[in-house]
């Protein structure tokens, strides 16, 4: 009986060797792949050329989608104003009752154009779901375009899914007021020059 058990354990050990070998090589493979992936990640994160090229492509894409005024606004001021469409427009002027300032990688700020009163901040991101661990994010101009498309394409849905906060939570209200003043000045100058083409890059 003891001899039979001994024989069985020897057979089991012999059979297990290739399996353990397989496990070992699989874990080796996994380790190698992880190392390679980390190296790739490091390379990707530290390639400023790739980021510059991505941003350049993103700027061209944004430019091809928005109108001339919006493009010039982004180029000169670093943000785009998008009029809100959910409320009733001003009966006197026909202007939108509220508008948004869209910044790259910052919350969208809603305000009343007539009074420049800040209404709220909408925190929204476009996370990379396929590479959740990665730190990579959309280039600035792609983030702008994503917000612009989501706002002009389905404002209600975007706003409903964003985290709404009172003004000042992430974006300094002083900065937004300065930006609104800069925007007013910029528009005055644009009206004076009569064209957005005058400042083509």
């Amino acid at each position: 009986m003891l001899l039979a058990l001994l024989a069985l354990s020897v057979v089991a050990a012999v059979l297990a060797v290739p399996m353990l070998g397989g496990l070992w090589s699989r874990s080796e493979d996994l380790r190698t792949e992880r190392k390679r992936s980390r190296r790739r990640e490091r390379f990707e994160l530290h390639d400023p050329g790739r980021e510059r090229r991505a941003e350049q492509r993103a700027r061209e894409l944004l430019r091809s989608c928005v109108n001339e005024e919006e493009w010039a606004m982004y180029r000169d001021l670093g943000f785009i104003r998008v009029e809100g469409r959910l409320g009733q427009p001003d009966p006197g002027t026909g202007d939108a009752a509220y508008a948004y300032l869209v910044y790259p990688h910052k919350p969208i700020v809603a305000y009343v154009p007539k009074t420049r009163r800040l209404l709220s901040e909408y925190c929204v991101e476009f996370p990379d779901l396929t590479r959740a661990i990665s730190q990579s994010r959309l280039p600035d101009s792609d983030d702008m375009l994503a917000k612009w498309m989501a706002l002009t394409g389905d404002e209600e849905h975007l706003i409903r899914n964003a985290n709404m906060h009172l003004p000042g939570r992430q974006v300094d209200p002083g900065r937004v007021r300065r930006d609104l003043w800069r925007l007013a000045e910029w528009e005055r100058q644009q009206r004076g020059s009569g064209s957005f083409e005058a400042h083509q890059t």
């Binding site: 990707e44 790739r50 980021e51 090229r53 991505a54 941003e55 492509r57 993103a58 894409l61 091809s64 989608c65 928005v66 109108n67 919006e70 919350p107 925190c123 929204v124 991101e125 476009f126 996370p127 990379d128 779901l129 396929t130 590479r131 990665s134 990579s136 994010r137 959309l138 280039p139 792609d142 375009l145 994503a146 612009w148 498309m149 989501a150 002009t152 394409g153 389905d154 849905h157 975007l158 899914n161 964003a162 985290n163």
Partner: protein, 77 residues
């Protein structure tokens, strides 16, 4: 749009050509299954106003659309 990379061409073809159309539909579905949103930049015929049209099905893409842009689904930040 791909985080870290920017614009990447996924597929191109003429939707009037059957083989191209099948390929485009397949890529469209794959992107939406991966959790992306799809939008078509449009120009309003009257006032030339530019905006985007969100599309959730291949049949919703305007016939004269030159491109469909896929971008990550928005989430509260």
């Amino acid at each position: 749009m791909k985080p870290g990379f920017g614009e990447v061409l996924l597929a191109e073809g003429d939707p009037q050509v059957r083989e191209d159309e099948e390929r485009l539909i397949e890529e469209f579905r794959r992107q939406l299954d991966d959790g992306m949103w799809a939008a078509v930049p449009t120009i309003a015929p009257g006032d030339g106003r530019r905006e985007a049209q969100m599309v959730r099905d291949f049949t919703e893409i305007p016939t004269d659309a030159e491109r469909v842009i896929f971008f990550p689904r928005a989430a509260g930040g």
